[in-house]
Symmetry: C2
Subunit: 533 residues, 2 copies
């Protein structure tokens, strides 16, 4: 007879690409989400929470003839009912697709425009990489049903307020603003877009957009090559170009170089002000002039395209609205090199970038880069209802923002642990519990050591692992005398570190106080370390 197989123990592991978050990581994210929600709420947006699960049909990213629709998302088929096959369900991959579904489903009950914010995890079935996880948080705000670009302007301003609310200082970020209509306008004047047959040259336009997106990495000459005949990189690989003539390519290049060209023109008229090394100083010091020049410059380039001129007009409206609220180019700046990947944007697009430098995992200095982005998408609800509903919105990458604040040293990663009441006599557990109850009632984080109390060293080691500021000790002697010993663990650690210094020797880190003074003494020590509530 075959021996029964022993079931092997399950592996205690997160699935590939998922991770656990501990202590301060969790509370810092919760705090950040709360601050951003506060700004969204003050701007008049209402909270919405949809579930993590949607029908694949509503998410709408899939081909109906694919057997297993799981490209990029986590999807599964429900069990079949008696009479029909089960629905395909999926985890949401962003918060915008569910918003479109919610708006279409509840539109009769929703105010118009509908302004909502949402925050929560989203899931992507993609190859994980360093710092790239398959579950991460998004924090979005959208206005659905407003065609006015005032809605876009407002979201750019709100994005600035959010960044400052979570601790990104003014000057450490910029919201870069562009317009898909302007991008399409430049395509039109470069001969890559015929408004009567918009599908023509779609492939070439893709090459141009991707080339613009790479300007920081490839520089002007590399981008020029991609606009014309193509480019061979250092490894010898060839990337096909968009096939523009030199003249057409120059038009696109003068578009991408708008900021540099406008600033150089300004420099000529302000010869006494040297803009270097802060390239953008002239723009921030003469915001009105920069705005006017930039918009006139762009209008000049797209002059042959009705769509392009309309797009520049929208940017002008947005810039005027923002200036009226004092959001100048030091915070929000028109920048024609902003593309934004997603195909569905139809008007203004915006992206928040952190401008400070950090060290990457290989020790190289680089700009931190994008932490939020969004734009106008007028076709998303149409899938459901047939009606075009104008919408615009932003998504803030909370995990990226947290990483940025960590990189700048602006988040304290250590959680302050509880006051630990040690157990000297396990029969007097009730006395120790009464102590923590008193401390907690005074609002002080506290706990009794609940492990095996036999080894007292383990209790202090536990307090150390928990990063506890204070330990309380009451043995039999203390109990008889009606006192407790209170150990200042922070001071104790400092003394231990600098034991050679004379000055520490006179500072005791352990105090005997009457039992009745327990709470007062603990509070005093916490206050000395700036830890009072």
């Amino acid at each position: 007879m075959a021996k029964p197989k022993k079931t092997p123990r399950p592996k205690a592991q997160t699935p590939k690409g998922f991770r656990d978050y501990f202590g301060a990581e969790v509370s810092q994210r919760a705090e950040m989400l709360q601050k951003i929600a506060g700004v969204y709420h003050r701007y008049g947006f209402d909270a919405l929470e949809s579930s993590g699960v949607e029908t694949v049909e509503a998410l709408g990213k899939f081909l109906p003839d694919v057997d297993r629709p799981n490209e990029g998302v986590f999807a599964w088929q429900e069990d079949a009912d008696a009479d029909k096959p089960g629905d395909w369900l999926a985890l949401r991959y962003d918060l915008t697709a569910p918003l479109a579904r919610v708006y279409a489903q509840h539109q009769n009950d929703l105010p118009k425009p509908y302004r909502r914010y949402a925050m929560g995890p989203v899931w992507r079935n993609e190859k994980p990489g360093p710092g790239r996880f398959r579950q991460f948080y998004q924090c979005d705000a959208d206005t659905v049903g407003a065609s006015s670009v005032a809605a876009d302007a407002e979201i750019c301003a709100m994005l600035c307020d959010c960044l400052e609310a979570v601790g990104i200082e003014r000057g450490d970020y910029v919201v870069r603003l562009n317009n898909r209509k302007v991008l399409n306008g430049i395509m039109e004047v470069a001969g890559l877009l015929d408004p009567t047959t918009p599908e023509k040259f779609a492939h070439e336009r893709g090459i141009v957009l991707r080339a613009i997106d790479k300007i920081d990495r490839l520089g002007p000459s590399g981008v020029s090559q991609l606009l014309e005949d193509g480019r061979t990189d250092e490894s010898g690989d060839f990337t096909a170009g968009a096939g523009l003539s030199r003249e057409q390519a120059n038009k696109v290049m003068s578009f991408i170089a708008a900021t540099t060209n406008v600033l150089n023109d300004m420099q000529e008229d302000h010869p006494q002000e040297d803009q270097w090394p802060d390239f953008l100083r002239l723009a921030t010091e003469h915001p009105e002039e920069f705005k006017t020049r930039m918009l006139d410059y762009l209008e000049g380039i797209v002059a042959g395209s009705k769509l392009g001129v309309e797009g520049v007009g929208e940017l002008r409206q947005i810039a005027n609205l923002l200036q009226a609220q004092d959001y100048g180019p030091d915070r929000i700046r028109i920048d024609p090199s902003v593309v934004r990947g997603l195909g569905y944007y139809t008007g203004p697009v915006y992206e928040a970038e952190l401008t400070f430098e950090i060290q990457d995992e290989k020790g190289r200095t680089r700009n931190f880069g994008s932490v939020a982005g969004g734009g106008r998408y007028d076709d998303l609800v149409k899938r459901f209802t047939g009606q075009e509903v104008p919408a615009t919105g932003v998504s803030i990458g909370v995990d990226r923002l947290l990483a940025a604040l960590h990189a700048k040293g602006r988040l304290d990663t250590t959680d302050v642990g509880p006051v630990v009441v040690t157990v000297m006599d396990r029969d007097r557990m009730a006395d120790y519990q009464a102590m923590v109850a008193e401390l907690r009632q005074a609002g002080i984080r506290a706990e009794v050591y609940l492990g095996n109390p036999k080894n007292f060293g383990n209790q202090l080691k536990y307090a150390d692992t928990r990063n506890s500021p204070v330990a309380v000790i009451e043995g039999g002697d203390e109990h008889e005398k009606g006192v407790v010993q209170i150990k200042d663990l922070i001071l104790g650690a400092e003394i231990a570190k600098s034991a050679t210094l004379e000055e520490w020797k006179d500072r005791p880190s352990q105090f005997e106080v009457p039992r009745a003074d327990l709470v007062a003494k603990v509070r005093e020590i916490l206050a000395q370390h700036g830890l009072e509530k």
Copy 2:
């Protein structure tokens, strides 16, 4: 040639059993979670957030030979790699199974005991019903690695603090406490548990536990029938019994009736105090006596069982610890009829019940019932590591608690909307945006109407839908005069409701103030309605 099929429009619908939450529903839940997290944190618990997705292997609820392991959970198989089949993944169905995985995975880095709290959605692939959804929130705290029942006592106390922190008043809840060891003890004395062959009579014990759980519904005689030969209900359906003799069944019945019997005994010794109609008044007024009598009573019943006596001893320890912190039977009460469904509990079990009555959906009066529960489970981590790790913890059903507060009228369901600045002249949008910017900087929730401004009535209707307290109007005339009109919409609605009353006629609800006084006047109106921040 066949005509190409037209793709039908997708249905805008949540999947069956899921729902959307709007506005105050979202913020009230967030606030409740934050309050509970505050209590957990003060008790020394650290935050943990694991992802919604786990491997089916780690969740460990499934038979290895089932092709599609989706009983009760949402599960799917990852795409196969080149050399091996894809893993089965699933959405977590609670927060305890992931904790066991986390503890086993990270145990070398975690403090011992490990005290963590976690909050977030969980998913169940079950048939949805009224008020029962397939995604809902849990909010848990657990102590892993503490065998002392002091850990259980602490969690019972913390549960009381949580309920009071979210607005359940003392007297409106009770935490009922039992011990699986005592339940097993009564099984042993009733002849349904032989410690040397514990698997014997498992079926009968299941019948007894389910019968105890139904005492409220079936009453003593119905439960007696189930303990003995079985019971035929009103519809004629027969439920098989556990097959106990009358004598054995009486032992179990005297166990279930412990509270009544103990209180009746107490009544004899306190003849001057009438415990009716508040059945438990004697217990709450003589907590020490009730505790001693209850424990002695239970000890008498399980006297023949070593396990049972041990269990009563644990309850005695817990009750003493709680009494030292002043948690008496008005808040936490030993109650032998608490069973708790899950099979994995091994020691103390506890359940928080709201004691007030509500109207159910059919208008019937009933007790609100259970909102939280937990207990000791010493075997959960063993699956991964082979080592037994003692653990105890509680799970609070946040959505149930919110429903309870709503039913009691203790949560205001209406969100206060933003101040709405109307658009009289769309060319002066910048002026209107400047107004909301000022209001927001003063901390006042405000927005410009961003829909089509042509129909002014629609703008006021919008303000009404948003439940806005104030509307601001500045037309051309006002602009020239340097004033704004400020409409008190709350007062306006009151006047409209009681238009016949003379007293209202003299109270204007619209005020003309200098533009510079906009913020001050809005703030004054908000303050009059108790809405200042």
